[in-house]
Every structure is written in C-alpha cells, then in structure tokens.
C-alpha cells in the first residue's frame, strides 16, 4: 500500500540545486578572473615557467627601481627605470586631485547641506551623466579644447611654452572625470552625519557655514578622505584620457606643461606596438602592470580601511 503523501524529492527541488550551482559559478568567475590576471602578470614579469624568460629574469630589480630612464624600445641595451613612468602617473594624479578635491567636496557640501530637494534631483543625475562620459572623449577634450583654448592662451600671455601633449591638460580632464566620484561618495558620508549634531550646532548660535565646516565636515572627515583616496586611485589607473592628452614621451621631468608618459599610457603603447610578443619591450609591460596593480591595491586598501573606521564611529 502506498501512502497518499510522497516525500521523495520532486523535479522542482532539484532545480533549486542547479540554481545554486549556477550562482556559485557566477561568483567563482570573478575570483578566477582575478587569479588569472595575477598569474599572467607574475608569470611574465617575475618567473616564467617553461623556456620563456620573464622580465625580471632579464632585467634586474635594481635597474627597474633605480634607473632614471625608460627606453624599452632599444631591446637588451635599453633602460628600464620605472621612475619616469611613475612620475608621469603621479603628476597627472596629483593635478587631477587639485581639481577634483575642491570641486567634488564643494559639490558634496552644496548638495547635502544647501541645495533643496528639487535642486538635488537635478544635480545628482547631471553629475552621474558626467561620470558616464567615456574617457576617450575626455582625452580629446583635453587635446582639442583644454590645451589649445585654455592653457595656450593663458600661458602664452605669461610667455611660457605649452606642448600639444602635456600633463596639465591630462590632469585637469582626469580631475573633471573623478569629481563625480568624490561628490557622490562624500555626499553619502556627509548626509549620514546624524541630524542631531546639526541641530545641536545650530542651537549654539552657529551660522550654516559654521555648522558645515566646524561640525559636519569634521565628523565626516574619514569618509571624505577615503573618497579622495579612491578618486586618486581612479586617476592613477585612468588610461585613455591620459594616453591621448599627456603624450608618449617618458621623462623624469616634473614640468606639467610638457608631455610625459604614464604607466597606463605606456601599456597602451606597448600592447598596440609592433614589437615581437616575447621582446623585452613587450615584456616590460607586465612589470609596469604589476607596479600599477600594487599601487592601486594599496591605495584602495587604505581607503577601505578608513571607510570602515568611519562606519564604526557612527553606526
């Protein structure tokens, strides 16, 4: 005699398992990709299995870290000092911060403290629109507008020569690019400062400006700093705009009005060039890649740590 009720697993329950496996694969994919990228970088830069030779098996780490020249095209006679590329990257990133920090923080304070609900409804989408513009467009904006129409007349008036390709225009447009990032992250942390703190400050006879600058911004400071660091790390990793605007001449000169090459700019150049796949100039790309990877990783870790610290303070 069979029971009228069956407890055996039905087809639909087996689907549950299938869904779980599919979702796991999606999650695993991103982990695997990261692992694969790290493997490719390491195996080309530090130690290559098989008969290939990795970059650091041909060029010493001392040369990489101490030489002041970057001339990979000359093959084994070339120079492989990272500093010209690193300084190019840092110069663009610092200039971009000089633009994006005041603009982004100002926008964040305005949106969270001063703007009415309607204004905010217009401002936020416009900022998001700015964030959505492809970076190659910003590159041309730097090359075709910022340099010829802003920098050349301005510095021409001061009788200073500006190259067509220059770090300043690259830094300015990258700064504009990352402004929405700072504005939106900072606005979030500023808004999460408890309303009661604002009221207490108002009740002590503060003007609105006092409330913002002496209570709200200091209370949100760690979150704001984290947004600065994330924006800096975006600027370090930014590629197309700087490859177009800053040019392709790696040099250890800190003149923002001349061309330079950033780490990302070099990697675009190396991976699209016509040198042989196992040539030293092509391999050097992986060493630069690892340096860039480590640099942004460290900055992101620091900003993540600061953000977590902020959350602990207020939640």
């Amino acid at each position: 005699m069979t029971s009228p009720v069956s407890f055996s697993t039905s087809i639909s329950r087996r689907h549950e398992k299938l869904i779980r496996v599919c979702l796991f694969c999606c999650a695993a994919l991103s982990v695997l990709t990261t692992g694969a990228i790290v493997y490719v970088l390491l195996s080309n830069a530090i130690y290559a299995p098989g008969d290939k030779t990795a970059f650091f098996e041909r060029v010493s780490l001392t040369e990489f870290l101490t030489s002041a020249q970057w001339k990979p095209a000359e093959g084994d006679k070339g120079r492989f000092g990272i500093w010209p590329l690193l300084s190019g990257t840092m110069m663009v990133a610092v200039i971009s911060s000089l633009v994006s920090i005041p603009a982004g923080l100002g926008a964040a304070i305005y949106m969270s403290e001063y703007a009415g609900a309607r204004e905010r409804q217009i401002l936020k989408p416009v900022l998001e629109l700015l964030a959505g513009i492809p970076s190659v467009v910003f590159g041309f904006f730097a090359l075709k507008f910022v340099t010829p129409w802003l920098l050349k007349p301005l510095f021409g008036w001061l009788d200073v020569k500006v190259s067509i390709f220059n770090s300043l225009s690259a830094g300015i447009v990258v700064g504009i690019m990352v402004t929405p990032l700072i504005a939106s992250l900072s606005e979030d942390v500023i808004r999460s400062v408890p309303r009661s703190l604002r009221e207490a400050a108002h009740a002590l006879g503060s003007t609105k400006y006092d409330v913002c600058m002496k209570v709200v911004v200091p209370a949100a400071l760690s979150g704001i700093l984290a947004s600065f660091l994330l924006a800096f790390s975006r600027a370090v990793g930014e590629t197309m705009a700087v490859a177009i605007a800053a040019g392709g001449s790696p040099m250890l000169a800190l003149n923002p009005l001349e061309g330079s090459q950033t780490m990302t700019g070099f990697m675009v150049h190396a991976s699209t060039g016509d040198s042989a796949a196992d040539s030293i100039s092509r391999m050097s790309m992986y060493a630069v890649g690892i340096t860039l990877f480590l640099l942004t990783l460290v900055i992101n870790l620091i900003s993540g740590w600061i953000l977590r610290k902020f959350r602990e303070e207020y939640q």
């Binding site: 609900a117 400050a201 108002h202 009740a203 002590l204 503060s206 209570v215």
Partner: protein, 276 residues
C-alpha cells in the same frame, strides 16, 4: 469619594525651586501670544499664549504628540530647519517678537540655548565641545577660553569628573556625563534662557537626579523651559507647569497648584495617570 484621593502625592522639590511662586509678580523672559504652528497644512499648535517668568523653571507636560516639543522649538526658531513649517502669532523675548522675519536666528539662539533629549557631543575633545560656541562667536584668546570652559563645566557639575582629561574625546563619557557636557556647552554661549527637551529621559536614575539638582541650581541665574514626560520630574524641578493636550495649552499655573488642585478635568485626568 473625595477628590484629594485621586491626586498624586507630590514629591519634594529640588533645592532652589519654589513651587508656590506667584509668577505673575515676576518680570517675564518669554511672552507668547496667540501662537499657532503648522507643518505644511497640518496644524499642530492652536492659539497658545504663555508667559514664562524670569529666572524660573517652566515645565511643559502632556502626552506624546501633544505639541510640547514643537512649542519648545519655536522659542529659538529651531523649527526653521524643517522645510514647510509655518507659524502665526507672536513670541516676545526681551520685548522683541522673535517670529519677525528680520530676526537673526544666530543671535537669537545664542540668547536662547537648547539641550536635547539625545546627548549630542561633537566628535571632538571635551574642551573643544564646550569652547565651540564661544569660538564660532569669534573668541580666540586661549586664557579666556580656558576660564570659560572651566566655569561652565563647574556650573554643569562636571568639572570634578573631567578636569584631568579635558582633551580626550567627549564621546568616551558616559550618557549622563555627555548630557551635562551638552548643558555646559550651552552655558558657554552665555544664554539667558535655556530650553530643555526631555534632557533626562535617556538617563539612569542617578544621572537623572544630578540633572534635576542642576536645574535647581541653574534657575537662580537662567530662565529654563523644560519638556518632560516624567510627571514626578515636572513636579520636582519646576515653578510653573503648563499642560498641553492635542496642540492646545489646557492649563498653566504654579506647579503645586497644577499637581494638587488643577481646574481642568483633562489636566487632572492626565496627572492622575488616567490617560497619556
């Protein structure tokens, strides 16, 4: 049954508070005339008129949502910070109508300080919290600030507990200490009037006691208006009690009279605990 049996036995007052004070003989610090208040289209205060005598404590009591906090917050125009609020009627402080649009709320709030239900120390040091008000008012001299911080912490009965750690974070203080710090911070702006919105409702009994005694001391020099849910507290710390119900001021009078022989049925029902 006699009426007296239903009335609460009134606990002794804190030192410095005379609950039979004839407030009509005192000069007034605040004179509210026909005040009505709206959140958008919703009217929450109806035609309130209330005199607050100088150097005394006025307690505002009533069930939740009766408008007593809203009323308190009109006295230093704190409600201006909320969009869509509107107010009619007059509120005279120092003989000036503070509802007038040409009043500088920054100056008003220095004169009329406020202590909130939740203690709100800024994430700064104890010293910087107390020095905040004088600093935004432009005081920079270190010695003046030092003296001011000490005297305000003494007045708020906190000096002895924190004098050796003035430059440590205020957030590390206990709840009761934080609230006394907020009182010290308010005193530092040299107000004449202090508004307190349930200042002890989040505190333990011992801390509450300290705050109540402090109110008794402060009312020798300051005019205090306090909102409280705790009727025992209202009866202990106030000279005058005002009972609010559904946005209306039902009854106001010397605290002893309100608690022993209220004239209105609703007041009596509330203080005997039959609703609210």
């Amino acid at each position: 049954m006699s009426k007296e049996k239903q009335v609460l036995s009134v606990p002794p007052s804190v030192q410095g508070v005379d609950r039979n004070l004839d407030t009509s003989l005192h000069p007034e610090a605040i004179d509210v005339r026909n005040l009505s208040f709206y959140y958008g289209d919703l009217q929450v205060l109806y035609d309130i008129s209330l005199r607050v005598p100088e150097r005394s404590v006025t307690a505002l009591i009533g069930p939740s949502g009766c408008g007593k906090s809203t009323f308190l917050r009109t006295l230093n125009r704190m409600n201006d910070l909320i969009d869509g609020t509107r107010c009619t009627g007059e509120c005279l402080v120092e003989g000036q109508n503070i509802m007038s649009p040409d009043v500088d709320v920054v100056l008003l709030r220095k004169h009329v300080g406020m202590v909130f239900q939740k203690s709100t120390p800024f994430p700064k040091s104890i010293f910087d919290n107390v020095a905040y008000g004088p600093r935004v008012a432009g005081e920079r001299t270190r010695s003046v600030l030092n003296d001011l911080v000490e005297s305000c912490l003494r007045k708020a009965a906190l000096w002895d507990e924190v004098s050796d750690r003035l430059h440590t974070p205020a957030m590390a203080l206990s709840g009761g200490q934080q609230q006394r710090l907020c009182i010290a911070r308010t005193l530092a702006t040299a107000p004449k009037i202090i508004l307190m919105d349930e200042p002890a409702s989040a505190l333990d009994p011992a801390s509450t006691d300290r705050i109540e005694n402090l109110i008794g001391e402060l009312c020798a020099n300051y005019t205090i208006v306090i909102v409280t849910h705790n009727m025992q507290q209202a009866s202990r710390v106030s000279h005058q009690t005002a009972f609010f119900f559904k946005g209306r001021l039902i009854e106001v009078g010397p605290t002893m009279k309100i608690f022993t022989s209220p004239t209105q049925k609703q007041t009596e029902d509330y203080i005997t605990g039959r609703f609210g």
